[in-house]
Every structure is written in structure tokens, then in C-alpha cells.
């Protein structure tokens, strides 16, 4: 089922060049891509700071939320094109097709990891105490990556049949942004809706990153739940993809 994961050389080489081509010709490549989330964070902070005065470090609270959500939104909006956009590889080689969404997910997870690392000195400069729980960052990121990969498997396979999926997905992402605790705390969600609200797996990830980056805390329970959801998503994605990929060769 996941035999293709053993094809390390293909996966790593494709990821390397995808990454390289994305930041080609600009030394400040990563820096430019950080401008938008910082501006968004400043705007949202300005708008909501009176309302949520009681949250410690509210500016960074918003910033971390945006950064965590960003990985999901960018990696999926690009990843959903990974089959359609590389149709020549799908129709002209016998490479396992799961590798295409995988390399896109990997290359964006690397940039997202760097983005979060870049945040660290800024947080330190503003007096946020970062402690040993930060060491769990790679594990949380890996779990998040698995979730995003699972989603990308489904989206990229669906995209072959429904070419307007990107527009639908854009709307869904906008809704998800406000269904995740990015600009507000989880505590304002009415208790009756909370279990429904927690169905959004990104919520757990946002809380986990905030714990590590802002409060020097690691929530084991949330981590286990998030990882279980990620693995379940991956399995569902793999099953859906394996079923749909049989007709890729003729549709594309």
C-alpha cells in the first residue's frame, strides 16, 4: 500500500528540485513569502486586540495561528494541482503517482518548518520564554505533514475529474480559517458546539504549536489525537487515491 515510500531517491530528488525552482533567483525568497502573513497578523491584531485583551501575547497568538494555518492552506491549494499539473509524468512514466502529491507536500512542509524556525528569534526578542518543549516541534510537524499529505492525496485525485475544485477549495479554506482558533480563543465557542468544532483537525495543531512556541507546554493528549486523525486521513487518502488513479492515464 505504501510501498512507494521506499523509493527514497525519487522522492528526495523531486522534492529538492521543486524546492529549488520555487525560490529560484531570489535570495530573499523565503523572506518575501513571509511578508503577507506578517501583514495579515498585524491587521487582525489591530482589529481584535481590544476584544481579546485577556489573551497573553495576543499579537504572537495570532501570528502563530496564521503560520500554522498557512502550511495547510498553501500546501493544499498547490498540492491539489500536483497530478493535473504534472500530467506528462502521469501519462508518460510508470512512476507511482502518489509520489507527486508527496513531493509537493514535503517541499511545502520544509518551507513551513523554516518559517516557524525564523519566528523563534523574534519571539525570544519580545521576551517569550521558549523552553525544552520546543524539541517536540519536529514531531508535531511530522504529524501535521502526514495530515496534509492525506488531504492532498484526495484533492489531487478529485482535481483530475473536477477542474473547478480549486475555486471550491478556496471558499472552504476561507471558512476553515474562521472555524479555527486563529484570531479568537477556543474558549468562546459555545459548549454545545465544541465537540463539532473540534472535528476540525487544524484546531489541535494550532493549539499544539502555540503551546510549544508561546507557553513552553506540550499537550500529550492533543498530540495523540492529532496524530491519530492524521494517520486516519492518510489511510483514507491512500484508499481513495489508489481507486481513482486507475483512470488517470486516460483522462489526463
Amino acid at each position: 500500500m505504501f510501498g512507494y515510500l521506499r523509493q527514497k531517491d525519487v522522492i528526495l530528488t523531486l522534492t529538492k528540485y521543486e524546492f529549488k525552482l520555487r525560490y529560484r533567483g531570489s535570495i530573499f525568497g523565503v523572506a518575501w513569502s513571509l511578508l503577507a502573513p506578517f501583514l495579515l497578523a498585524i491587521v487582525l491584531y489591530m482589529v481584535f486586540r481590544r476584544l481579546f485583551e485577556f489573551i497573553e501575547n495576543f499579537a504572537f497568538y495570532v501570528l502563530v495561528g496564521i503560520f500554522v494555518f498557512r502550511f495547510f492552506s498553501i500546501a493544499t491549494s498547490v498540492g491539489m494541482h500536483s497530478i493535473v499539473g504534472k500530467s506528462h509524468i502521469v501519462t508518460k512514466t510508470n512512476l507511482r503517482r502518489e509520489i507527486m502529491p508527496l513531493t509537493t507536500t514535503l517541499s511545502y512542509s520544509i518551507s513551513s518548518f523554516f518559517e516557524i524556525i525564523i519566528l523563534l528569534p523574534i519571539l525570544l526578542a519580545f521576551g517569550v520564554k521558549i523552553g525544552p518543549s520546543i524539541l517536540m516541534l519536529p514531531f508535531v510537524h511530522l504529524s501535521y505533514l502526514i495530515f496534509v499529505f492525506g488531504v492532498n492525496l484526495i484533492l489531487s485525485a478529485l482535481m483530475v475529474h473536477f477542474r473547478d475544485l480549486n475555486q471550491i477549495w478556496e471558499v472552504i479554506l476561507n471558512v476553515l480559517f474562521f472555524l479555527s482558533p486563529i484570531v479568537y480563543p477556543k474558549s468562546i465557542v459555545p459548549t454545545g458546539f465544541l465537540s463539532l468544532y473540534m472535528l476540525n483537525p487544524i484546531t489541535n495543531f494550532i493549539e499544539l504549536y502555540r503551546g510549544m512556541l508561546l507557553r513552553n507546554e506540550f499537550y500529550v493528549g492533543e498530540y495523540l489525537i492529532a496524530t491519530l486523525i492524521s494517520i486516519a486521513t492518510l489511510f483514507v487518502g491512500q484508499i481513495v487515491f489508489a481507486k481513482m488513479q486507475k483512470r488517470f492515464g486516460e483522462i489526463l
Binding site: 529549488k20 509524468i89 475529474h161 473536477f162 477542474r163
Partner: protein, 227 residues
């Protein structure tokens, strides 16, 4: 070894193309599902022994490429059985995945792994690849500055460096100038002597005669005759 038993492939050609969810929903509600079916391949039997070179020829639209794609595992047959034993390198098009913004060497790395080589293997063979393509001087040149002949030579040289057990070639032998074409045919012969199983698709029967043990003529999705 390749064995096809009663393989059939049906293509559905929608009379109106539906690509979006919106169109799909509309046609579902109105109950319209119009498409024309046609059999690209019908009851094809083909058996290629290890080390044998088989050529396939036929007019446009006769199913040559479909047949090759089925052997490569790119598309799946609707009926029949396909058995392929060994590492398959399909050259259905030259230079799949080549990126104009990368250098020749980087593209060899990229194309090489796509064709199933390991990094070490590519590193070991890159000298040989550039020598065969006669492009040693252009190793670090970006591919966008290559002529189409250079491009094809580089791709062919990389693809055949995979030491395939089974090689599938679709109409790509006619690349480059005459001297390079001769080199390609010599390379195919050399691979054949080393025991590579091959299926070669071409319009040119003369070209196939030069390398093949057996040539089949395909017409309307059926193998019509042995030449």
C-alpha cells in the same frame, strides 16, 4: 517477459466534455450522460519472450500507443490479463519532467530518478550519458538554451542508461541527425545483445526491420498480421 491475453481497452469519449463539478451536477440532474464508446484495443494477444525485440506498426489511431501504455502500466485494460515480469523503462516521450530552468546535469538527475535509477547509479553513469549524447561541454548549461536535437539526445542517453530489463519505445528513435539515429539503433542492438526485452512502436517498417525479431501490424485495435 511480457504476456497479454485477450486485452481490450474501451475509451469513452464524451460528446460534450465535462470537466467541472458544476457541469457534472447539471448533467446528473438533467439525466444526460452522453458519450461515445470505442474500443482502442480489442482482444489483443501478445507474447514477448525475455530478450526478444518486438516491433509494432500501424496507421494513426490504430492503438499502438495504447498498447504500449498498457504494458507500461500507465493505463489499465478493461478486459483481459497483462503480465509483465521485470523492471520496465517506458520511453513514451523523450525528456518527461525535463525543466528548462535547470542545468543539463540537474535534468539528468531528475529524469534519471523518474526513469527508475538510483542516485548512485546516475552519479556513476553521468559521464557515460554525456559522452553518448555528445554533450560533455554543456553539462552546466541551462536546458532552455539547448536545441531540440540536443534535448532529445540528452533524454535518449539518460533513458537508455537505466539498463532496463524491459524497454518500451514509442516513436522516439527518429531523433537527432542521421549519425545520432545510427547511434540510437546501435544502442538498441547492444541492449538486445545484453538480453533486454523490447517493444518498439514506429510508423517506419524499415526502421523496425533493422532491430526487431518480430513485427506486428495493428489496425483498428486488432493485431492483423505478422510481417
Amino acid at each position: 517477459m511480457i504476456k497479454l491475453e485477450n486485452v481490450s481497452k474501451k475509451f469513452r469519449i464524451p460528446s460534450e466534455k465535462r470537466y467541472t463539478l458544476f457541469e457534472e451536477v447539471v448533467s446528473f440532474i438533467t439525466g444526460k450522460r452522453n458519450y461515445v464508446e470505442f474500443w482502442a484495443l480489442k482482444n489483443v494477444n501478445l507474447s514477448v519472450r525475455k530478450g526478444e525485440v518486438v516491433g509494432i506498426t500501424g496507421p494513426n489511431g490504430s492503438g499502438k500507443s495504447t498498447l504500449l501504455k498498457i504494458i507500461a502500466g500507465v493505463i489499465y485494460p478493461d478486459e483481459g490479463k497483462v503480465e509483465v515480469l521485470g523492471r520496465v523503462t517506458p520511453i513514451l516521450e523523450l525528456g518527461v519532467g525535463f525543466n528548462p530552468e535547470l542545468t543539463a546535469l540537474e535534468n539528468v538527475n531528475l529524469y534519471g530518478v523518474l526513469m527508475g535509477m538510483s542516485k548512485k547509479e546516475i552519479e556513476r553513469k553521468s559521464e557515460e550519458i554525456f559522452k553518448f549524447a555528445e554533450l560533455e561541454k554543456f553539462r552546466n548549461m541551462k536546458l532552455k538554451n539547448f536545441s531540440s536535437g540536443m534535448y532529445a539526445r540528452l533524454a535518449f542517453a539518460t533513458a537508455v542508461a537505466t539498463e532496463p530489463e524491459i524497454l518500451l519505445v514509442d516513436e522516439v528513435l527518429a531523433v537527432g541527425d542521421t549519425s545520432f539515429q545510427k547511434k540510437c539503433i546501435a544502442k538498441i542492438r547492444e541492449l538486445k545483445d545484453n538480453g533486454t526485452t523490447m517493444v518498439v512502436v514506429s510508423h517506419s517498417v524499415d526502421l523496425l526491420r533493422e532491430v526487431c525479431d518480430e513485427i506486428y501490424h495493428l489496425r483498428n485495435g486488432k493485431i492483423e498480421e505478422r510481417i
